[in-house]
Amino acid sequence: MQQLLEHPAVQGGVLPLIVALIFGAVFARTRYAWLALAVAFATMIALTVGFSFSPLTASRKVTLVLLAAALVGVVVDSWPSTARGFAPALAIAAGIVAPWVFLSILAQREATAGYVAAAGIAAFALVMTYAVMRLRSDGQRVGAAGLGLGLGVGIAAVLSASIGFLLSGVALAAACGAMLLVQLAFSRNIVPGFTATLPLGLGVALFAIGSVLLAELKWYFLPLFLLIPAAVALPAPGNLPRIVRAAILAGYACVAAAIPILAAWYAARGSLS
């Protein structure tokens, strides 16, 4: 049993999937169902590096921010009237938080290079978070986006030498896949709200940035990840059978995710062969 728990596929994929399935099913009729993402991610962290926040390294800040974002999402979703201004405000907050997460690395750069990198990081986190939050009323779109983003960022990360961010991405992908299944099982749209989209958008943005700053991913591949939420926003009629619509949206996400993965593969290998 212990050997099984120590396998990276179990730590990053299988157990987060099972945990998210159970959590999502138990809370399917509440507004907390999509907390399954944060719970699945926390499961992966507990099984791999554990919860330790001293010293507060960039990787640990990523964990902290993702879990805090889920709680912020719950609070915002619980607000009596979810005003339209919440999404832009939260996206701007994500843009401010992202450079703070990687401050220890940015501070070691020349002043101008550091500021340029911080501005780029802030812009990417802001746009990614906003792009994912725009999908927040449609559980199938968010599930598909999370599947594509988690796999896209995770596989690009491992091609860039970071297994830690691979496991993080795969854990979120597994959780989003689990929530797609839960929605199919309950034959209903479980509204993700900010509870899912804020940690998902900000989380994958931070995994991708971390793969650039702490591993070997080229910075100019970051915008390619934005193709995934854009692809998932493509038309998918609501009157289609749920399973067909989920498959179409997941297909959009996976095709879009293949682009940054292939780019990272090409950069790592120097050729596609």
Partner: protein, 195 residues
């Protein structure tokens, strides 16, 4: 009486000079912090850091010494330089946040806190190792130590080997345990040239 005292002082001064602490600068071309880890319980992986610097101070008369070693984490080298069919090498992976986190912690340091002598030579070095932002005490056993006197254009050179063990999880480096062992053996080969 005054003359005798003066003569005695004159006689002591050279010995006092010899007894003063002597400072040496680490020779980066002959100093390599090495490490070994167990891989899958099958074999032992050897690695080392290629870039380092530091100072050594020895006072043989007082039997005291100190050492400060600064190691550039990005210089980690396990001999895995060819990608082959893989996207990345093991050394590239070791530089990421999964292990040495070289972008965030470009240096690790060892600073001695106490050096025990056996005869004229250091035998055990107690010190603090700072790695990935965490400082923990480490004890190194000096297996050999020798100084070669200056000759010709060459300055006096001292050096030796020291070994110790750490648990990388103590430093928060938990990735891959237990497939890649928690216990890491340190083998530090050091040479330093007198200033």
């Amino acid at each position: 009486m005054t003359k005798r005292l003066f003569a005695l002082l004159l006689a002591i001064v050279p010995f006092a000079a010899i007894a003063a602490p002597e400072t040496y600068t680490i020779d980066p071309y002959h100093t390599f912090p090495n490490f070994t880890v167990d891989h899958l319980g099958i074999s032992t992986i050897y690695g080392r850091f290629n870039k380092n610097s530091g100072k050594v101070t020895i006072d043989r008369a007082a039997k005291t010494a100190s050492i400060e070693l600064n190691i550039e984490t990005a210089s980690v080298d396990t001999g895995d330089v060819e990608k082959g069919g893989r996207a990345r090498t093991r050394d590239e992976h070791l530089r990421t946040a999964d292990f040495f986190n070289a972008a965030e912690f470009p240096r690790m340091t060892f600073k001695s806190t106490k050096v025990a002598f056996s005869g004229d030579n250091p035998s055990v070095i107690e010190g603090d190792l700072t790695m990935v932002g965490v400082t923990k005490p480490v004890s190194l056993t000096v297996d050999r130590f020798k100084c070669n006197p200056a000759s010709g254009n060459n300055k006096e050179r001292c050096g030796g080997n020291a070994t110790g063990k750490i648990k990388r999880s103590d430093f928060g480096m938990k990735f891959g345990i237990p497939n890649l062992s928690d216990e890491v053996t340190l083998l530090i080969m050091l040479e330093a040239v007198k200033d």
